[in-house]
């Protein structure tokens, strides 16, 4: 269940059959098929979606979830959960808005502070899970509530202040910077860099040990890996990427009271949709990215179909369960 291309030579017909088998076989390839199908349906309903400008707008919207899904991937593949990322995104945007308060000169210092805060949250999540042996589900659920409550306390219930234009460039602007024309959003570049680095990291000894720790932590320990430090680093990566996502989301739409709500659920869904096993040990980071794109495409499809908003969560839930069940078929045999 990897995305590594089959290198053995074969005839064109053989290649086609292999692809068909892969796409229908379940696992990571299923989500790719889902993504292609959803995008195709959107284009059939609304041909203008296939125009480069619209595709780039989609990429800009989807980039933060891709970044979050990569962060969640590190944690899930190591056998844990991070439920605190949604609250962390919300907290970071609110902190940034309040401290920057429209002051351009404060952009960089506040970004630095956000980075430090993000890493601190990740470190606490990691150490509480690994050293205090609190299940990550509880530890990060607690962190989610702590962040949510602390931000409410700090702001008196609703965010104040404003983000600077400089802060918003990454999430909102693109190259070349002409509104309405084709442009490559900076958010897309950020997401590509994040995915690229994540792929490299997963090929390094760290990545391989992380998967091993998720698969069987006892065996990983016997083989000489320091499991607690591996998992703590996974939490650090998750919180760091949540901070990056916060910069993108804050940049995209500015600060509102609801920013970040429910993102942890979406990130976990994206990762699972990508065929990454909950409980760890299986799945690739690229598949997690495709899962995030498929989820965002699904939301776009719902909009295009003008589905009543009341029925959307139900449809979304059914599609996710079916997709994951289908992807899990081979695992059972």
């Amino acid at each position: 269940m990897t995305l590594t291309a089959d290198t053995s030579p074969g005839t064109a017909r053989g290649t086609a059959r292999r692809w068909r088998e892969r796409l229908l076989s379940g696992g990571s390839w299923t989500v790719l098929a889902l993504l292609v199908v959803v995008l195709a349906v959107i284009v059939v309903i609304n041909p203008s979606f296939a125009e480069p400008v619209s595709l780039m707008a989609f990429a800009k919207k989807a980039a933060p979830l891709v970044v979050l899904a990569v962060g969640q991937y590190f944690v899930i593949v190591s056998g844990e959960f991070d439920l605190s990322v949604g609250s962390l995104v919300g907290a970071q945007v609110v902190i940034a808005a309040r401290l920057i308060d429209g002051e351009e000169a404060l952009t960089w210092p506040v970004l630095g502070l956000m980075l430090a805060f993000g890493l601190l949250v990740g470190l606490v999540n990691g150490l509480v899970t690994t050293l205090l042996r609190v299940p990550s589900f509880i530890a990060t659920l607690g962190m989610m509530l702590v962040l949510f409550g602390a931000i409410r306390l700090w702001t008196g219930g609703a965010p104040t202040g404003a983000l600077s234009e400089g802060f918003r460039v990454l999430g909102r602007k693109g190259f070349p910077d002409v509104p309405g024309q084709f442009q490559v959003p900076y958010a897309l570049l950020v997401a590509l860099v994040v995915v690229g680095l994540a792929v490299l990291v997963m090929r390094r000894p760290f990545g391989r040990s992380l998967v091993a720790a998720g698969d069987n932590d006892v065996a990983a320990t016997y083989s000489g890996a320091s499991v607690w430090w591996l998992r703590t680093r996974a939490f650090l990566l998750s919180s760091f990427l949540a901070t990056v996502a916060a910069v993108l989301i804050g940049g995209y739409a500015g600060v509102t009271a609801q920013v970040g709500q429910g993102l942890e659920f979406m990130a976990i869904t994206a990762v699972v949709l990508g065929g990454v096993a909950l409980g760890g040990g299986r799945g690739t980071v690229v598949a997690a990215m495709v899962g995030a794109l498929a989820l965002e495409a699904l939301f776009t499809l719902f909009n295009q179909l003008a589905l009543p908003s009341t029925i959307r969560p139900a449809v979304q839930g059914v599609i996710i369960i079916v997709a994951v069940a289908y992807a899990a078929r081979r695992r059972r045999t």
């Binding site: 308060d101 299940p135 500015g254």
Partner: protein
């Protein structure tokens, strides 16, 4: 075994998130009699189809917009539209240092935060005058059950000289409010109502129908026939918001405006921007109607980023929107759900203790910000944060402006 356990945990997490996210109950029992009769009278193909639409209330609220309110013009929070004064002598009590109790639904949105600050400032004034001794507050954080027990606690404590209630939802809170009335303590309800008239006074601005109609009429007046309008709503099932849309829907249905979409956004800026961007990909949008101003700026930015001309825009009197409106020079209106109403209950308590008459239903004026007074409100609130509301009505309180700027 392991993945199964993890999946169980994940399911539990999802359930927990859903539980914490939505605890609002949709009050569906409001005025059942009036609803059915109005629905029968209503012409087909209009907003009157909505189960939330009550023709009589709609007509009343639209008429109230043109009625000159009684009371001092420079203190709109003390004005009342067509008040029916009731004697409160039996609720009067001597002496100062009263204990004022306040059961707040929540401070979970910027509108409520702004009003809450204003209310505290008003209480401080009365505390210095010796009218109020203790100001006891409980915040229900949008939880009906918590608010019911908050109110019960006030009643059981027995030492509240007046109870102010800002109900979280209508139907669910009604019995708790009635129980508070029965205790003999003066009860003052404001903002959202309950299905009872037991309280000493019910304070609220004109209401949702007027709010929704003002914006829709503005779009009809400022757009060519056949123009397209996108309606952005926060969430379904809450009466104050449903009334806004029901009125707008009625106005649109009687005009040549083409409503291309009605979307729920949860007030989330990212979602608003994404939705508007997608509508712009599919075709032109000439006007935006919003049932509350949260995230209005994100919608305006979607037009900017798509390189499209600005739409005719119905926002709210939130500063971020007013500033964006001023910067861009677009055709817009800032709808108002009078934030200064948060002062009125405190002053009403003072009147009741003094045995003065109060209106049984205290309808406060509700006037939108338009391009004639935009500059005035921008100027007056120049130092205010972006999520502040222009018509907060606290300029004459001693804590002004620090209490609102340093929040």
């Amino acid at each position: 075994m392991r993945p199964i356990r993890a999946l169980l945990a994940g399911t539990a997490a999802a359930g927990l998130l859903l539980l914490t996210a939505c605890t609002t109950d949709a009050p569906t029992e409001e005025l059942p009699a009036a609803e059915t009769s109005a629905a029968e009278e209503a012409p087909a193909e209009s907003g009157a189809e909505s189960e939330w639409f009550v023709q009589a209330d709609y007509d009343k609220e639209l008429a109230q917009r043109d009625i000159e309110p009684e009371g001092p013009a420079d203190e709109p929070w003390l004005q009342a539209i067509e008040p029916e004064w009731v004697d409160t002598a039996d609720l009067a009590s001597d002496g100062g240092d009263k204990t004022l109790c306040f059961s707040n639904a929540s401070v979970s949105n910027p509108w409520r935060v702004t009003g809450w600050i204003t209310m505290q400032q008003q209480v401080e004034v009365l505390q210095e005058e010796g009218v109020i001794g203790e100001f006891r507050v409980s915040d229900a954080a949008d939880d009906d059950n918590k608010q019911i027990s908050d109110i019960q606690a006030f009643v059981e404590a027995g030492d509240c000289d007046a109870i102010i209630i800002s109900p979280s939802t209508t139907a669910t809170l009604t019995p708790a409010v009635e129980a508070a009335c029965e205790s003999g303590t003066p009860v003052i309800v404001f903002d959202r109502g309950v299905n009872s008239d037991c309280m000493a006074t019910f304070i609220h601005p004109i209401g949702g129908y007027a709010y929704g109609a003002v914006g829709a009429e503005f779009l009809v007046d400022n757009l060519e026939p056949g123009s397209t309008v996108l309606a952005l709503r926060i969430l379904p099932g809450v009466d104050v918001l449903e009334h806004r849309w029901a009125a707008a829907d009625k106005v649109f249905s009687e005009s040549d405006i083409d409503v291309v979409g009605v979307e729920f956004t949860g007030g989330d800026g990212a979602k608003i921007k994404d939705l508007v961007t997608q509508y712009l990909q599919r075709g032109e949008v000439d006007g935006i109607w919003m049932d509350a101003g949260d995230g209005a700026v994100a919608a305006v930015e979607a037009f900017e980023d798509a390189g499209q001309p600005y739409p005719v825009f119905v926002g709210e009197d939130e500063m971020s929107f007013l500033r964006k409106w001023d910067e861009t020079g677009m055709t817009a209106i800032g709808n108002v759900y009078s934030n200064f109403q948060w002062r009125t209950p405190v002053l009403a308590a003072q009147k009741i203790w003094a045995g003065e008459e109060v209106p049984s239903e205290w309808v406060l004026p509700q006037e939108p910000v338009d391009d004639t007074d935009l500059a005035e409100y921008l100027d007056a609130n120049a130092d205010m944060p972006s999520l502040h509301y222009a018509k907060f009505g606290g300029e004459d309180l001693p804590g002004y402006p620090e209490a609102w700027t340093d929040r």
